[in-house]
């Protein structure tokens, strides 16, 4: 077989994948135009490509065989690409391990580590206990989750400031001024909430860069100066 035919056969797959540089693709077209055998070879493979979808996106078995039998023949990058896929795709990983088991060869395949999991948005509901009578603030252990788009949701009952008559213990219906003080001591959010509506939680808009971990203080004040503050800490998860 001539060098030209060997060259054609060697790059035919890349040509079908349209992954050749322009000059190489042009050479392929020109060779196929003058060589019926090579043109026919290409035309025999092309209609088979639509049979690929059922295993598209998965590691070809030929590569898994190489990983089981002759991993030393793979370049470091090729091996890294395959092992990255095996870490992400449990079907392929278990296929590879099953093949190794049947071949009697000891192989271990990496799994995706927890650290690489993508954080998902979440809502944190903060339920603050009423401070003890006579005190003005209370530390409340909070939680969690490091997500950039975390939504802070304050459950309503704590926002109900009680009237000054402890005997009746009726929640106030007056407007409430709310100020959230950030870890650096500056107000992050201010707002007014009219009356008390225990069923409806109070949600703060998410800052553009998300919530930073640290110690926050939510101050709630009625128009007549009755005031309470609540401390809570946002903790970044690990």
């Amino acid at each position: 077989m001539s060098d030209a035919h060997l060259r054609f056969r060697g790059v035919a797959a890349a040509h079908l994948a349209e992954a050749l540089p322009d000059e190489e693709a042009a050479w392929m077209e020109s060779h196929a135009a003058g060589c019926a055998h090579c043109a026919r070879l290409l035309e025999r493979v092309r209609p088979l490509l639509p049979t690929l979808p059922y295993e598209a996106g998965h590691a070809p078995v030929s590569l898994l065989e190489r990983w089981v039998w002759t991993p030393e023949e793979m370049t470091p990058l090729e091996r890294a690409l395959l092992e990255h896929h095996l870490a992400e795709c449990p079907l392929c990983r278990d296929d590879a391990l099953e093949m190794a088991r049947l071949a009697g060869i000891q192989r271990t395949a990496p799994r995706r580590t927890a650290a690489r999991q993508v954080p998902r948005p979440a809502i944190v509901t903060i339920v603050l206990r009423e401070p003890l009578l006579g005190s003005t603030s209370e530390s409340v252990a909070l939680a969690l989750i490091p997500v950039p788009k975390i939504v802070l949701e304050f459950h309503a009952p704590f926002l109900s400031l009680y009237t000054k008559q402890p005997a009746t213990r009726q929640p106030t219906t007056e407007p409430l001024a709310l100020t959230l003080i950030g870890p650096d001591g500056t107000p992050v959010r201010t707002g007014v909430r009219t009356g008390s509506s225990p069923e409806e939680p109070f949600r703060l808009p998410v800052p553009p860069m998300g919530w930073a971990p640290g110690l926050y203080r939510l101050e709630v004040a009625t128009i007549d100066g009755n005031r309470r503050s609540y401390l809570f800490r946002l903790i970044a998860s690990r």
């Binding site: 890349a14 470091p76 278990d94």
Partner: protein, 195 residues
Amino acid sequence: MAAETTPTFEQALAQLDWDALRAGARRRLRARLSGFSAQDVDDATQDVLADMVGFVRRNGLPEHPEGLLVCLVRAVAADVIGGRQRERAFHCRYSEAWLEQQLLPADVQEILQRYRENSFHILEYFRLKRAACVPLADAKSRGESLKDHAARSGLSYLQIRQAWSRCVRLIHDAMRSHRLHMAWTTPRERTGVHE
């Protein structure tokens, strides 16, 4: 020294550990066919083993039985899932098509295998290095041409072609530095095929 002889069909079958293959097929099918009944998995296991016998009859003993097993498991599982999703009349039998492909000339099989490997490397490379190229690489791994992809996605062919051209330049860089072996390799010489 005795001359090496090709085993007969019965001898070839006897050389395979059918219990291990059956257990392996069932495990892999169970993983793929979650939501199907145990009976479905058993039937599919039987189909895989029957296809394996068919392969040995037509092609002889496989070099790597475990690789053949996984190929057939994937195809049969796709058949089972496809059979549930589509009208049977329009149902493509992947396992049948796969077995047919094993009878094609070696050069055709070689190009098809290399296409699978190239597409996989390209897709995984972009998953790691350039997420924007992943949809196009994914289309290529499904055997779709850029023209087909452009028509399906409603974009112009020129636009798609330029985007793909930028993507494959990254692949060429990796190949030039010998980190990826994907094409431009000389295939094995085959005698009597093409002079």
